[in-house]
């Protein structure tokens, strides 16, 4: 299982992703297109972190007012990781990277990579 301590679909951020996809497109895209989950799983292995940890790092608490805001530092970090992931030897690198970006977007993390 590598960096994941349980099946990937059980992580809260993955549940959120699935809900977002269902609301946006209808059906159950994560069930209908398992390659999306495979892509996220591969990315987790690539960065050595589980999905909740990745999303968690993308936010920080602003000291001034206690507001939860996006972390520029970690967004930049993951943007670079996604770029590297995209060009990994694989026939579908761009699609797999797009799946990871979608996972982050549905968790409120806009990353352009």
């Amino acid at each position: 299982m590598g960096v994941l301590s349980r099946p990937i679909a059980e992580y809260q951020s993955v549940t959120t992703w699935g809900e977002g996809l269902r609301n946006q497109w209808g059906g159950d895209p994560l069930a209908e297109e398992p390659e999306k989950l495979h892509a996220l799983e591969a990315f987790c292995e690539f960065v050595g972190e589980d999905p909740d940890a990745i999303v968690g790092r993308c936010f920080r608490i602003r000291k001034a007012d206690g507001e939860r805001v996006l972390s520029t530092k970690w967004r930049t970090h993951y943007a670079e990781k996604i770029k590297a992931f995209r060009v990994q030897p694989s026939t579908d690198g761009p699609r797999r990277a797009a799946a990871v970006l979608g996972f982050l977007i549905h968790n409120g993390v806009l990353i352009q990579a």
Partner: protein, 260 residues
């Protein structure tokens, strides 16, 4: 395309064919449309620098992105950077108004003469205007009028376009604007990857809340017969989202390798 259909068919296009170049003559026609727009005191504050995306280094393109326009500038093959030249009024000092006098557009019937421009309009109205805090606002309004004319021309030419903000500092490495130019918006131009309907006419606030007759608070009456007429002329079109929009976006996402 007829004018009413043209303005009704315009959409902010956000999906472009990234590798399909835009012909130089079409870019020129967009700029020519800007140039002949209505313009206060014939000043022509709007300046534009055309940059082909292919001429921008990948590193700089990354730095030009912000969270809301990143994909648009990455897909659009042509970026037309619009600036407002705040220095133009004091550069031309009324000479463009005198051109209008000579051209018969401004006439003695309305009080215009070279002497009127030289002794009153420029020194007593225009020059003080340039020192007013409202000057950039008025100038930017004029630029918007001109830019919109270019925007509509893009659609008339079968292109798609979308106005977005831009990172002035990074873009300036390419456009090298004079100090008197203030950055406005970039017109992203290219061939549409999405359908001409682009999902339908976008939601707008109620007409009656926007426009008034006589005074604020008295809505301008919206005659349903006029609305029907505008539907027939295709200025008012089927509202978004059209039934196939999600399918269209999904197909675009897959073809262009975008997140869903």
């Amino acid at each position: 395309m007829e004018y009413q259909e043209l303005i009704g068919s315009r959409r902010s296009i956000r999906y472009f064919e990234p590798d399909k170049p835009v012909e130089q003559d079409k870019i020129q026609k967009i700029l020519e449309a800007c140039l002949i727009s209505s313009c206060a005191v014939n000043a022509h504050w709007l300046k534009a620098v055309v940059v082909k995306r292919a001429d921008v280094s990948p590193e700089d393109l990354e730095m030009m992105k912000n969270p809301v326009q990143a994909l648009v500038i990455a897909l659009a093959p042509v970026h037309i950077y619009f600036y407002c030249d705040l220095g133009v009024v004091n550069e031309v000092k009324g000479s463009r108004l005198k051109q209008l006098v000579d051209a018969g557009a401004l006439n003695p019937t309305h009080g215009w003469s070279h002497k009127f421009v030289d002794e009153l309009v420029y020194p007593q109205i225009l020059k003080p205007l340039t020192e007013s805090p409202a000057y950039p606002i008025a100038s930017a309004f004029d630029c918007g009028v001109a830019a919109n004319q270019g925007l509509l021309m893009a659609f008339e030419l079968g292109l798609g376009a979308c106005l977005t903000a831009f990172n002035a500092e990074v873009v300036a490495r390419y456009t090298k604007p004079p100090a008197s130019w203030i950055p406005l918006y970039v017109l992203n131009v290219g061939y549409r990857a999405e359908s001409p309907e682009a999902g339908g006419q976008r939601p707008r606030p109620p007409f009656e809340g926007q426009y008034f007759l006589g005074q604020y608070g008295k809505p301008f009456p919206r005659d349903p017969k006029v609305v029907e007429e505008l539907k027939r002329s295709k200025m008012l079109q089927a509202p978004a989202p059209l039934p196939n929009r999600k399918q269209e976006i999904r197909e675009l996402a897959r073809r262009l390798n975008l997140p869903e």
